[in-house]
Amino acid sequence: MHTSISCVVPVYNGARFIAEALDSILVQSLPPTEIIVVDDGSSDATAEVVKRYARHVTYVRQDNAGPASARNHGIALASGHFLAFLDADDLWHKDKLARQLMALESNSRAGICISHVQNFWVEELAHERERMRDQAFAQPMPGYVCQCLLARRTVFDDVGKFDESKRVGEDVDWFMRAERAGILKVVVAELLVYRRIHEQNMSYELFHSQKARGDMLDLVISNLHNRRIQQNR
């Protein structure tokens, strides 16, 4: 069967939200063939929560090495013809996989599909939600992040895996490499992913670090370099 979908869920100390994430996978109108949870060395109750889903989920654990490494670990174990990813604090719309698979099956030349995503705030950050209400960051937008991706497995042979040296922007880096490799993309302009903003969102803590800024500059410089090569052709 050519529509087998593997879903990889990287998690680090995600005990508070991972049950909701897994539930949103299990209620998919087109369920994935397998769900692989990669525990990136959690020290909280993540393992116990995931144990409740043992009938549906393959659980593996690794020493803490970051989300890119956890996703790559999941890709290595996945057997599906298509790969999808969901972070342990985010949620899928019940038709996420069905809509995206339909989009890829009706565009046989396309290798990847992304959907729209909208941020939502945990209750403790309700004031933040109010403050951001009218801003772009609170509206649905195309999601160049893994949780919005459905990819043919073969795409990873052409593009490679996620760059484990990056602390931020590893998703953007991968999407840029996919574009450069000539992988065609379909965008399903429907809100199919909900991204939770909470106090442990790693990007928040990292944002002001020199390393994070350096990673972003590297992405931009690489993109600029590529633009110039194309212009000179």
Binding site: F137, M141, M176, N201, H208, R213, M216, N223
Partner: protein, 147 residues
């Protein structure tokens, strides 16, 4: 209008920048837009990062390149306005000029009128990863006030 006595400096809160082979590459972290300032402009950006007065920058440019002071002044002021309009620099009263005079170089470099080129093709990608810093600031402020 920016004046010669004012200090012009990088908006460090909002800007990540790197000078490579004389070209300055900047990202506005709150919009996802990025910029290229090649050649002479890259040299000017490296001076802006030193928090100098506009006058000091003009004098350094005139000493470093084969250009008149008048031309350098016009160009530095214009580039400064463009950078300010994009939120990449802040301009403040120049109370403490360093007083350091630039050393003229033996053979001045050929001058190129500084330009600022803007790109927005990655803004959509940067919208989520990492998130906008305005949000991050508020998050930190909140933690500070809750303590």
């Amino acid at each position: 209008m920016i004046s010669l006595s004012q200090i012009i400096c990088a908006n460090e809160q909002q800007v990540a920048a790197k000078v490579m082979d004389g070209e300055a590459i900047l990202i506005n972290l709150s919009t996802g837009a990025y910029y290229s300032i090649p050649s002479t402009g890259g040299f000017i950006w490296s001076l802006i990062e030193k928090k100098l007065t506009v006058d000091e920058i003009v004098r350094a440019v005139a000493a470093h390149y084969n250009v008149t002071r008048e031309q350098a002044e016009v160009d530095v002021l214009r580039l400064g306005e463009e950078l300010r309009a994009e939120g990449l620099v802040t301009v403040s009263a120049g109370a403490t000029a360093s007083g350091v005079s630039p050393q003229p170089v033996c053979s001045p470099l050929p001058y190129q009128v500084p330009t600022l080129e803007k790109f927005t093709d990655m803004a959509e990608m940067f919208a989520l990863d990492p998130p906008l810093p305005g949000l991050a600031n508020t998050y930190q402020d909140k933690r500070g006030s809750a303590a």
